[in-house]
């Protein structure tokens, strides 16, 4: 119950008018960026980072929390009304959601997505509040070898689970790790990969890297094929649900939460798998047989799973300092910007910040429901913004942010370089997340590796002298061996979904 009291304390300090304002800004901005495909919460937070350095850490994180959940919700709106899921996590929502919208039940689909997100987000946040301190307690005693193994696990899992090709994932990962190497070696003081450029000795600013890869890369990518056939948005009124819809939705919400949270909390990363599992489960359990024609369960379950895993992501981030999603990595770099070292000590050293953050997640979630249900028709109108105007604005903020961190024109050059890298990654289908994780986790991993090797006197066997480390390496090995089977099972399940779709077309 101690945690509960701490959470209430956090709620108290989060509930000031100023912080509520930041939460509201975050939620609105988050939904804005979530609705527009291609722009996600990670990019929005990266763009906002320089602005928030003037704010108190708590206020900034309250805004980020709002942004994060808002972005999730915005993504589901687009996939339901437009059938263009902005991110892999919304793909399953789009399946049934868009059919509901086409059948004239868009309002109910939006409502079950919003309420389901709220329910899952709230339960998820409360679970985070109970699990993170316990995990942090355990994690404080972890030695460098275990820590190193955990980071390897996080990198391997996010690299291989997400996306279609593990090879591309690893290519992106090693690019990121290399970028993370640039700068002064903290142990020996040697400059690495600096090419004699003095500005590079200082290590690369993560804001410049993130904004370059996310914002500039996406803007260039969009500019490369600016004109496309416009799609048709399904007009929708204010979201609402009938009695029947509530009755059909609440169980999928809870089941989706149960799928989503553990997957988010594991360093496996991403909401792709839990949303997919939730969709399959709901389809199996459905007795009405209207799956494929717009079943509300098929929206409620995956949407809840999506948000629960979004909440679960905070467990490794707060308790271990391990980010598993792009948004978490950008948030962690924001923490570092405030001079706060992420890791197991975070829960004890900056308890007030952590509990206020968790409380603000609850607030953000509630605000989301209150603000977004009436605003849904307005969000749909955002899709009419012409791309040139939209991306000109993004480019402006990107350059401003990159310049503002150090007031050095050199950073703008770096930004452009990373923007071009981001464009090429999109062109050749390299996933962006492993790169960002590599940049953030690379230096951390290196310091733990060297710590472990110093203790063992340079003997690589020292990496295996903690039982947890051994267990994790075995897990990684098992996972790599089992990967082909997992991929095959997933392909089969996806195929059966496709077959059903065809059957529906034939009918």
């Amino acid at each position: 119950m101690e945690n509960f009291e701490l959470l209430m304390g956090g709620l108290e300090s989060a509930l000031t008018p100023m912080n509520l304002l930041y939460a509201a800004i975050g939620v609105l901005l988050g939904t804005f960026v979530g609705v527009l495909p291609g722009i996600g919460p990670a990019m929005a937070i990266a763009l906002l980072l320089p602005v928030t350095y003037r704010l108190e850490p708590t206020s900034a994180f309250i805004m980020f929390a709002g942004l994060y959940y808002g972005g999730m919700y915005g993504g589901s709106t687009t996939s339901i009304l437009l059938n263009t899921p902005g991110e892999s996590a919304s793909v399953m929502t789009a399946l049934e959601g868009n059919r509901m919208a086409r059948a004239g039940r868009g309002a109910q689909a939006l409502a079950t997505a919003a309420v389901g997100s709220f329910v899952a987000g709230t339960i998820g946040t409360i679970l985070v509040a109970f699990f993170s301190p316990a995990l942090a307690d355990v994690a404080v005693d972890l030695g460098a070898p275990s820590y190193f193994a955990l980071m390897v696990l996080a990198l391997v899992m996010t690299t291989t689970v997400l996306g279609t090709s593990a090879l591309r994932g690893f290519a992106a990962l090693f690019l990121g790790l290399t970028i993370g190497l640039v700068g002064l070696d903290l142990n020996t003081g040697q400059p690495r990969l600096t090419f004699g450029v003095t500005q590079l000795v200082d290590r690369l600013d993560i804001v410049v890297v993130a904004v370059g890869i996310f914002a500039l890369g996406e803007a260039l990518w969009v500019a490369a094929h600016l004109r496309r056939k416009p799609t048709h948005v399904i007009p929708v009124g204010r979201p609402w649900m009938g009695r029947d819809d509530w009755g059909r939705s609440w169980k999928p919400w809870l089941r989706g939460t149960a799928f989503g949270f553990p997957f988010g909390a594991l360093p496996a990363g991403g909401a792709e798998i839990p949303t997919f599992l939730s969709y399959l489960t709901e389809r199996k359990l459905s007795k009405r047989g209207d799956f494929g024609r717009g079943a509300i369960e098929g929206v409620a379950g995956p949407e809840a799973a999506n948000n629960a895993s979004a909440a679960g992501m905070f467990v490794p981030m707060l308790a271990l300092g391990l980010p598993v999603t792009a948004t978490a990595s950008v948030m962690l770099s924001a923490l570092q910007g405030y001079g706060i070292t992420p890791g197991p000590q975070l829960m004890t050293d900056h308890a007030d910040l952590v509990w206020t953050l968790l409380a603000s997640l609850l607030i953000g979630n509630t605000l989301l429901l209150v603000l977004n249900l009436p605003l849904a028709p307005l969000w749909a109108r955002l899709l009419r913004i012409p791309r040139p105007q939209l991306y000109a604005g993004i480019l402006f903020f990107a350059c401003l942010g990159a310049y503002a961190t150090n007031l050095d024109p050199f950073d703008i050059g770096l930004l452009v370089a990373f923007g071009l890298l981001g464009l090429m990654m999109r062109r050749f289908g390299l996933p962006v997340l492993p790169l960002i994780l590599g940049v953030i986790l690379g230096p951390l991993m290196e310091s733990k590796l060297r710590e472990a090797l110093t203790i063992s006197g340079g003997d690589y066997g020292g990496l295996l002298n903690e039982p947890l480390a051994v267990v994790i390496y075995v897990l990684i090995a098992l996972f790599m061996l089992g990967r082909p089977f997992i991929a095959r099972a997933r392909a089969r399940a996806e195929q059966s979904a496709a077959v059903e779709e065809e059957k529906e077309l034939v009918d």
Binding site: L36, P230, H232, P386
Partner: protein, 140 residues
């Protein structure tokens, strides 16, 4: 494309909204009276994710039905063009159109200054007469 009708072609700048509808009414009336064919141009800049003035399949089907019912020779041209007015003017030039019909919205001079206008570009650039009509007017 069918042969050029005796009276030549009428080009309509069309969109699936009230302005497009009234322009089409007048174009069909003119085609009827002067034995002309109707070419409907629907263009979008294609730089936004959603453009409600770009007709989707069902709306095009309805348009096709309407044109067929009129019994006049007709053609529908849909394109993504950075210059929407240019798409209309190009069609008119290529067909040596006798008339262009556009639906016009009511605007104050200030609104005009802010928004720019496809109709104005057509008026200024067309080689043939341009008929501009507002919603609510009925062809006699």
């Amino acid at each position: 494309m069918s042969e050029t009708p005796a009276g030549g072609w009428v080009v309509v700048a069309w969109a699936p909204d009230v302005y497009g509808a009234v322009a089409l009414d007048w174009a069909l009336a003119d085609a009827e009276r002067r034995d002309r064919g109707v070419v409907v141009v629907n263009a979008s800049r294609g730089d936004a994710l959603v453009d409600e003035r770009f007709a989707f399949e069902e709306q095009l089907g309805e348009l096709e039905r309407r044109l067929t019912e009129s019994g006049r020779p007709h053609e529908i041209r849909q394109s993504i063009d950075p210059d929407v007015a240019g798409a209309v003017l190009d069609a008119a030039e290529q067909l040596e159109a006798r008339l262009i019909v556009v639906g016009l919205r009511r605007r104050t001079p200030v609104g005009k200054l802010l928004m720019g206008s496809v109709a104005q570009r057509i008026l200024l650039g067309a080689a043939c007469p341009v008929l501009s009509v507002k919603p609510g007017s009925v062809p006699d």
